[in-house]
Every structure is written in C-alpha cells, then in structure tokens.
C-alpha cells in the first residue's frame, strides 16, 4: 500500500505522507488555515474549532489540526460558510474573554487578539459572560488569570506531559472549566516548579510572567540606588525577536548599550558567572571522580526549575547535586561583596537586576538563606527576556540601530564556555572542557563535545578523558529527566556502579534558549536557531574554556583565594532541602 495520499485543497492537488494533517498539507499549496489552540510543540486537541475546513462532497466540517488527509479528499478551506462559522466561533470565544486588551501583558502579542484583528471583529453582539476568578500570582514567577483562559489546554499538556510536574489541571467541566492547581489551591502550594513553560505556550494573557519591570524602573529613578544589571546567556540570542531581528541574532553589545542608557551604573554578564560555575563545578567533579569525595553522578544545579523539581519529587538525589549556585546568583553575591569593596560602594545601595530567560529565577533569588550570602539579598529582582524587551521599548531606545558597547567590569568578561550555558548540553560541554584540563593538565584536542548538543530529549555519551571514561547524560524538558533518574536510582539500589558520572539537566525544552521567560512562539526550529547563535559565538571566541578566563583567575587571586575555598563556599555554594509536593 502506498504511503502517499492524494487529495485536493481548494481544488489544488496535494500529495502528502499518510497521517499528515490537513493543516500541514495546506501549507504545501500556500494555504494558511487559521488556528488558535494548536501549538507546533504540542499534540492537537481540537479544542477551539477555528481551524475547521469543509469536505466538498458531504459538506461536513472537520478540524484541520487533527484530521489526517485521506486519499481523494476534496478539502475546502475558505468558503464563505467556513469563514462565517469561524467568525461565529471567534465571537463566542471573545464573549467569554475579558475586554482588557489595553491593560494586558499580551497586548499586541496575543494569538487571540491577532485572530480577532484578522477577522475584523468589531462587535460580537453577544453579552459578555466572563466569570470572576481570582488571579493567582502566589508564585511570584507566573500569574494565572483564568478569566482570560480559552481552555485550549496547552499549559496543561506542557505541565503534565512535557514537564511531568502536574501542577496545573483542568477543574470542573463545561462552562465552568478552568485551569487551576489540584483542588483549587494557590500555585505556591502546588507542585509547580516555576519553569514558566505554561506561560511560554499560552496563546493569551491567561498565564504570564510576574511582571517586575516597574520595580526596576523605580530603582533606576531612585538617586540613592546603585543599579547593576547582568544578562543571561540565552537572552542575547532571543530578545532581538521582539525587534524584528532574525532568530538567533546575538545582540550582546546592543543589550549592554541599551542597559547603560536605561540608567544602569554597571552592566555585567551572567556568562562570567557561568565560567565561575564551571571552575567550581569542575573542581567539585574532580574531587568526586578522582578523590572519592561525595557521590556520583554529579548533577548540575544551575537551573532553578530543575532544582525545584528535584527538591519536590526526587529529593533522594540531593547528595548528587552540585552545591554550586546558579551563575547569576554567583554574580549577584560577588557584586555586593567583591565589586562593592573594590569600587567602594555601600552594598546596601546596590540594586542587582538579573535579566533571565526564566521565570523560576524570580523565586530562586529568595529560595533560601544562601541567597543572602552577601549580607543582603544577592539579586534584588530577576526579570525575563519578555519584560526586558518591553523595557527597551518603554525607554525609547532605538534598539535596532543602537551601536554596540562593551560591558563594564571583569564581572562581565567571559569565554565561549560561559556563552553556551544557554543551550541544552552547554553546561556539560563547558564543564568537560575544564574537567579535561583538571584531570590531564592540558586542553582537550577537540573542544567541541558535540554529543551534548541538539534537541534529543536525553543525550548520553562516554567521553575519554586521557584514559578515564567519563559517562555523561544531558536531559532537558523535565519529563525526560525521569528516565535518567530512574537509571541512577536502579543502579544505586542494585549496588551497581552508577550509570553516569556527570548529568546535566535543564527544565525547559532546549535549555535556557527555550526558557519560560523567552519571547513567545518558541518551536524546536526556533530553539535550534537560538542555540546556533550561542554556539557560533563560542566557536569564534579566542577563549573557549572557563579556566582560560583571565578575569576568573584575577577574581580568585584578589578575592576568593582558590576554588572551593572557604570564601568561595560561602558565597558561591548553596544547599538543598526536601520540599513537599503539596504544601496542603
């Protein structure tokens, strides 16, 4: 039996592989069927009814997103009747949606709004029947407003299937259906790990980041405050999407310039923190691998979503966790100690802002007492790439044309190893480069450990480090973590040698480039391009190993002493605790 089916769409012949949806087939003949609930990352559910098309011979209306093309199907996609029904459905959806577009974070960036504009809806003729639901901003990372929810189910699919967190679920049925944490508890009490993937996939303003840009503006205007900022690796290759740059364009210099114009007194780069993390983590790894101090595998800890997940669901893995803080937390701690001392600034006046691709960082900065290691809150506010893009727009800076500027201080000087932290496998690759050096005393002949790259859910490899085989695993997307953890646990219970020596985990699909706080519309295609933006910078860099960063050396010489020194422990390391899955 042939695996190709032949059909027509609006009279135009198409030939597609069996099982191809009408939606995908239509692209072949340059027909764009409007959709609302469908997301390229996720399974089609057929919830919204916007993508209906008609079968010519029987007039039946089917959903293009979840109906496979059948042989000899004659499909119509744009008859007046279809458009009319689509408009009616859209009118219905709008009658259950608050008319708050102008004061919504998704204004001009909302899939429902765009669709309404496309259809030129002016008045629905239906009474507004928006239920009153409380807004849940308890996590301080994401804000859930189920009044704006169109119950497309994307967030739930992401939370349950892709992330295996099961914080969100539908509650009730029919018109009363809404998204909520189990049994209508605040998200804060739920298993939510703050990864924010729900917000990144939401088509409307029902789940958005907890916007703290106003706090930042307030401090920028405050003459007493000494505002310092740092940007995460993945931000530089994503923020441009909000300004029409090609996906993956690396805009580090423009970002520095824009931040300086906004009024930040010092502009740092989290990449420096990443290099520092590698030094500390590779030291830790070496001592576990060669000196038997602590258990193997060592598991990375720079992703706060993952840390939350582990503390709630896999707390038996705590001994495996690297005690290193995440890179931005390290920079925060150093800013209010090392930098403050050096510049003679009162750390109490320093206001540290992190610009991150991440919603979990927002609550990470207050997660435990170690986050106050400088004597103050090490990082005062963490905003997402999306908030940052809006701030650039608010400030009136012409981001497209603004010339590049350098960063301010050694806390902004980094190597290619720090840059690739933003992509899945990047931390592992950077760590391997340095670990190789620590074990052998020389650099690896080839610095590209390509086995760690790409979007495969779990990447496993054995790497020869001068005769010692190092088994690694890289997982991204929390649902993929389970199989890695299961393996570790099984070996442990059986008393066998651990299946891996070193494990990297990132909560978000694709790593930070696909973070929950990144610009909307992320698909795997986009994630790859963003990652390429990072890898190409690394490839072009003179310095591609954290241990070659001269400023890291300077930092140890001037301030920290040596890796894993007492001071380093105090400022750069943290601990973990067992958290209940549900607080109530």
């Amino acid at each position: 039996m042939s695996n190709t089916v032949h059909a027509t769409i609006n009279g135009l012949p198409v030939a597609v592989t069996k099982g191809t949806s009408i939606l995908d087939a239509a692209r072949q003949v340059h027909v764009r069927i409007p959709t609302l609930c469908k997301h390229p990352d996720l399974d089609a559910t057929g919830a919204c009814g916007i993508c209906i098309v008609q079968i010519k011979n029987n007039g039946k209306m089917l959903r293009a997103c979840c109906t496979a093309v059948e042989d000899k199907m004659e499909i119509l996609t744009e008859t007046p009747e279809i458009v009319d029904v689509r408009r009616s459905v859209l009118e219905l959806i709008l009658s259950r949606h608050p008319n708050e577009c102008l004061t919504c974070l998704r204004n001009q960036n909302c899939e429902l709004q765009t669709l309404a504009a496309d259809f030129g809806l002016t008045w629905t003729g239906l009474d507004s029947i928006v239920p009153e639901h409380a807004i849940d901003d308890s996590t301080h990372s994401i804000v859930l407003d189920s009044r704006k929810c169109i119950t497309c189910g994307r967030c739930i699919q992401v939370c349950q299937q892709d992330q295996n967190v099961w914080a969100l679920s539908f509650l009730n049925r029919g018109f009363e259906t809404r998204i909520a944490a189990a049994g209508d508890i605040p998200l804060w009490d739920s298993p939510c790990v703050r990864c924010g993937q729900c917000s990144a996939h939401c088509p409307t303003g029902a789940i958005v980041e907890y916007d703290e840009s106003v706090k930042v503006w307030e401090k920028l205007e405050d003459p007493d405050a000494y505002c310092v900022v740092q940007i995460a690796p993945a931000v530089r290759v994503a923020v441009g999407e909000a300004f029409g740059f090609p996906v993956g364009a690396n805009l580090t210099g423009k970002i520095y310039a824009a931040l300086r114009r906004m009024g930040f007194k010092a502009v740092f780069d989290t990449n420096f923190g990443a290099d520092l993390t590698i030094i500390e983590e590779a030291t830790e790894f070496k001592s576990r691998l060669l000196e038997g101090k602590g258990v193997l595998p060592l598991i990375t800890s720079c992703c706060p979503g993952w840390v939350n997940f582990m503390e709630k669901f896999h707390s038996d893995m705590i001994p495996h966790f690297s005690s290193c803080k995440s890179p931005h937390a390290m920079v925060g701690a150093l800013t209010k100690t090392y930098y403050a001392q050096k510049q003679g600034i009162d750390p109490a006046k320093i206001f540290m802002v992190s610009i991150m691709p991440c919603t979990a960082k927002k609550s990470e900065i207050i997660r435990s007492k170690e986050m106050y290691s400088s004597g103050y809150q090490d990082v005062d506010v963490s905003i997402t790439t999306r908030e940052f893009a809006r701030m650039i727009k608010q400030s009136g800076i012409d981001f497209v044309t603004i010339p590049n500027e350098p960063c301010d201080h050694i806390l902004g000087m980094y190597t290619g190893a720090g840059t690739i932290f933003g992509a899945t496998g990047g931390v592992m690759e950077a760590a391997l480069r340095t670990a190789y050096f620590y074990v052998t005393g020389g650099d690896a002949p080839k610095l590209d450990f390509t086995a760690t790259r790409g979007l495969k859910g779990v990447k496993e490899a054995s790497i020869d480090v001068a005769g010692t085989t190092v088994r690694i695993a890289v997982a991204h997307g929390l649902a993929n973590v389970e199989q890695v953890i299961d393996k570790i646990r099984a070996a442990k219970e059986a008393g066998e040698e651990p299946p891996y020596h070193f494990v990297e985990v990132m909560a978000c699909p694709g790593g930070c480039v696909g973070g929950g706080g990144q610009p909307y519309g992320a698909t795997n295609e986009l994630r790859i391009k963003r990652a390429e933006g990072l890898y190409s910078e690394d490839f072009a860099d003179q310095l591609r190993c954290s241990h070659h960063n001269p400023y890291i050396k300077q930092l140890y010489d001037e301030f920290l002493g040596a890796p894993a020194s007492h001071k380093a422990e105090q400022l750069l390391h943290t601990g973990y605790q067992v958290l209940p899955e549900y607080k109530r």
Binding site: A47, G49, L92, I129, R173, G174, F175
Partner: protein, 551 residues
C-alpha cells in the same frame, strides 16, 4: 460447560418449572423496587409458606414488564389458564392475591378476571399497550428471573453463542450485516459494518465495550434490559467478541444504576462458573472475560471517545475522530462500542437468522425498538415496537393518549440531541430516516409526550440547560455557544427577549452544529431549533413588546 450440555441444563430447568402449577413473577426492576416490589415478593413467599403451597407455586423476580407507572406488576402463569397481570400490588396485598386467585387456580378453577378488591389491580392483556407491542428484546422480561442463569438457558439462552463458536468471524459479521441491525444508541450505524471494521484491524488486543451509560434524562431502556435480562447482553457481547476477535469485554454502566451493576456482576459470576465466560468458553478453548467500569455522572461519556477516556480513568472528554475507536480505541487498541439494546438484539438474530429479523421494520430500519414512553402519556413505561409502526399508534394506542385528557401537542424523541415532533406529523412510521427527516432523531429511545398546556420554549430551555450542564468544556463552540444560547433562551422565557435574540440563537446554533467537536455539542441546539421550526409563535409571544413610537 460443553456445548451439548446446554440442552441438558435447559431440559432440567424446564422440568423443574413444569413441576410448579403456578408461577408468579414480580417485577424486581429499579422502578418497581421503588414501589416495594421486594416486599411483595416476601409477602407472597410468606403467604405461600403459611399455606404450605411452596412446592406448587414458584415465586420469582422478573425484569421490567413495561407499565412502570402501575408498578409493582405481578404476572401469574399457570398450566391451566391464561396469564393474569396484576398491577400496583402492595406487600400487604400479597395474601389477597394468593387467596383470591392463586388458590382457586390451584383448585382447578379458571379465573377470567379477578373480582373484588383485585378488580382494579388487574391489567387487561388485550389492551393495546400490551397487544400492539412486539416483544423481541423484551421477550424474556416477565418470563425469567434475571438472577437465575438456568432460567435464561431454559429459554434458548447461550444457544446463539454456541452457534457463533462454530462460525467464522467473517460469517458472523455478514449475518449481522444481512439482518440490517443498526446501533440502538442513537446514531444508527449498521452494527455488522462496525464489527467488520473492527474485525479487519490487525491487533493482538481488541476490546468490545458495552455502553450502558444511559445519560439521556427520561430514558431507561438500557438500564431495564441490563436489570431484566443481563445474560442476553453478555451473550451478545460474547458473540460480538467472536465476530471481531476481541480479547476483552468491558461493561461501562452508569453509577446511578446500582441494580443493573449488581445484576451484571452476578450474571458474570454465574457465566464464569458455568464456563460460559472466562478461561474456556463453552469448552472451546477460547478465553474471554469481562470487566465492569462505572460511570460517574457525565452525559458526554455516552460519546464513544469520551467513554473510552472515562474507562481509562480520565476526564470524559471526547477527542477528534478519526481515528475511530475501531482503529484506535481503549488503550489505543481497536475497540468496538455497542449500546446495551444493540447487544441484546444479537443472540436472537443469530438464533433465528438474519431474514427473520429483517422481516420486521422498514427498508432501512429493521427489527424492533425500545422506547421509554413518559411525560404526559397515560401509559408510562417501557415499550417495544416494530420499526415502521406509526408514531400515532405508539403514542395514542400504546401510550393511550394523555393522562390528563388534554390534547397532545408534540413528542420529543432523541432526548437532548433530538427534537420535537408536532402532532400533525404523528402519522410518520418510526424509522431512523423518518425521525431524522422530521428534524429529530431516534436517539436512545426516550419518548416524551407533552400536552397543550406544556410550553415548548421551556422544554427547549430544559434540554439546553441540560446540555450546558453536561458539556465537557473542551471545545469552545459547545462550551460557550451552549451557555450563550441558554442565556438568550432564559431571556425569552423571562419575557425580556427580543426578535434579535431569536436571530442570534440561530446564528450561535449554527456555529455549534458545525464546529463542535462531538455529537453533544453538534446536536445540543436541536431541541431549540426544532421548537423554533414548529412553534416559533410560542417564542415570539414571549418577546418583549416592541415599543410603538408615540404619535
């Protein structure tokens, strides 16, 4: 049990029954149990014991005998005279029945019609309600005790299964197709075709699922069949399983029918013990067993894919079809879902042959159909009529008109998915096509009679309210469309609606019909639309008076 043992068992049971001079069957279905039928059974037993007549008179429970509004019903059969059907027997009347009727009959007297106090508690079996019905699925009701396997076997039970075990899967499907049996759950898809589609899918695991989630408010046929003749459904499922090489059977029964669940559980236990289900069905080496899953109060779970989701322990939300369950159903395996009444038809068809079945009915709708006749009908209850009988015969003759004597305005068939049929269309013969043509549908078989005092606007509102309540909420057209339509209908009922609102109702209804994901949403506007079609004046009469401009 070996195949040949069926006759032995049947003969033994028949001999046992013959030993009794009189047999009493008291309806022990849900409806009559509510009217203390169990007390009646106990009363009869006690009275017969006191008179030492236990060896001559057998007291049985039985399935529904139709006229639920007159329950509990007690049927007396005797070798010496014709049957007598008592109605509204209270436990305290048991002694009277024994004394005034049973004892005289035992003494050799013939009683045409009981007199005295029982005169008004006897139903005329020549009344059109009984005389015009054609019993096929209900054939055993009132004649066997649903809790006794041997009773079923004595009435040719499991012979059809024995026949099926000698046939090829394809032949069984062909036989079904030839019979013209169509799904009794509402949509009317040819059963043989459905089986054949499932049969053709290659898989090591296949499921046959019995849909007993009778959610239509005002319909109780499936519950009555499960309660009254559970073995017929089990046998039907076993045959279906053979026809498509299914490996597991699943009963999905609504939790509101605890008695049906109990009866099916009991029947399954009996069948396993007797070797009619389980590891070695009828000594054929074929292993097949059943599981029971309960619904939990969701009308939408009558939809095949929602039902599957519910069996899988999830929210009962439908998913888009295709893929159809025949290809990807329960646990992603090929599955066939048949309604209770459909399955109950299967053994008779196989036993008596497709031509026998096809001889009844219209060209495209064969056999008989169960209806739950309720509302303002004089005779309320479960009826079985041949396809092709006119609606008027069903409503006016079998139903006996209205209880109030008022004129009948319309009937509603197909429940919340169906529509209203006005009185002037009652001469239409019952068939899937005809009902659809009238803007209604067969549905599962609820038939609600409304009289001239009833408001069709309020009935439409009732059904829409039901659908809004029962919408799963997954797709926007149904979730929001239903609510908006109801909102508008509420306005009209409250007297604040406008002509514009009626227009909007039609517009929203169209969006729901065209763009809803499953049949619940697609059909939810039907009662309202059919009411509008036939009785628009009742809507317009309720509109807000249009203000006339001042001179």
């Amino acid at each position: 049990m070996k195949p040949e043992e069926l006759e032995v068992k049947a003969a033994a049971e028949l001999a046992k029954q013959q030993a009794f001079d009189v047999r009493l069957f008291t309806c022990s279905s849900r409806g009559c149990q509510s009217s203390e039928a169990l007390g009646v059974i106990a009363g009869l037993k006690a009275e017969l014991k006191a008179r030492q007549l236990e060896s001559r008179v057998q007291v049985n429970g039985s399935g529904c005998m139709g006229l639920c509004s007159k329950g509990p019903l007690v049927r007396m059969t005797s070798k010496t005279q014709k049957d007598i059907l008592f109605s509204e027997i209270k436990p305290e009347m048991a002694a009277m029945v024994v004394e005034q009727v049973v004892v005289p009959v035992l003494e050799g007297k013939t009683i045409e019609k009981p007199g005295g106090d029982l005169e008004h508690h006897t139903l005329d079996l020549n009344d059109p309600f009984f005389a015009m019905q054609v019993y096929s699925v209900l054939e055993n009701n009132g004649k066997i005790d649903p809790e006794k396997l041997d009773d079923y076997i004595a009435r040719d039970g499991y012979k059809a299964l024995r026949k099926a075990l000698t046939m090829s899967a394809e032949d069984i499907c062909k036989e079904m197709l030839a019979s013209g049996l169509r799904g009794r759950g509402g949509a009317g898809f040819p059963t043989g075709l459905k089986w054949d589609l499932t049969r053709k899918v290659q898989s090591d695991v296949k499921y046959i699922i019995c849909n007993g989630d009778e959610g239509d408010p005002g319909a109780f046929m499936d519950g009555s069949v499960l309660e009254g003749d559970p073995h017929a459904v089990i046998e039907g499922m076993l045959i279906a399983a053979r026809a498509m090489n299914a490996t597991q059977g699943v009963f999905y029964i609504r939790a509101e029918y605890p008695l049906a669940v109990e009866r099916v559980e009991k029947a399954l236990r009996q069948a396993r013990v007797a070797g009619l289900a389980g590891k070695n069905v009828m000594d054929s080496g074929w292993a097949f067993d059943f599981e029971i899953r309960l619904g939990a109060g969701a009308f939408v779970c009558g939809e095949e894919t929602a039902l599957i989701a519910s069996i899988e322990g999830k929210r009962g939300t439908p998913r888009p079809r295709p893929p159809f369950p025949a290809v990807k159903g329960l646990w992603d395996q090929p599955s066939c879902i048949n309604n209770v009444e459909t399955l109950a038809n299967v053994p008779i068809i196989l036993l008596k042959g497709a031509p026998w079945f096809a001889s009844r009915g219209t060209e495209k709708s064969k056999g008989t159909k169960l209806f739950a006749l309720t509302g303002k009908s004089k005779n309320n209850g479960l009826v079985e009529v041949p396809m092709g009988m006119t609606l008027r015969d069903v409503i006016e003759k079998i139903g006996g008109g209205t209880d109030s004597g008022l004129k009948i305005k319309a009937i509603q068939t197909g429940g919340p998915s169906g529509g209203m049929i006005p009185e002037h269309q009652f001469d239409t013969p019952v068939s899937y096509e005809n009902l659809q043509q009238l803007g209604s549908m067969m549905g599962s078989g609820g038939m609600i009679v409304i009289d001239e005092h009833d408001s069709v606007v309020e009935l439409a509102q009732f059904y829409l309210d039901f659908c809004v309540d029962e919408s799963c909420g997954k797709c926007a057209p149904c979730r929001i469309g239903g609510t908006q339509m109801l909102h508008l209908l509420n306005k009209i009922v409250a007297g604040t609606g406008t002509a514009e609102d009626i227009k909007t109702i039609r517009k929203v209804a169209k969006a729901m019909q065209k763009a809803s994901l499953c049949a619940l949403g697609q059909t939810a506007p039907n009662p309202t639309l059919s009411a509008l079609r036939h009785f628009e004046h009742e809507f317009t009469e309720r509109l807000l008076p249009v203000a006339t401009p001042k001179a």
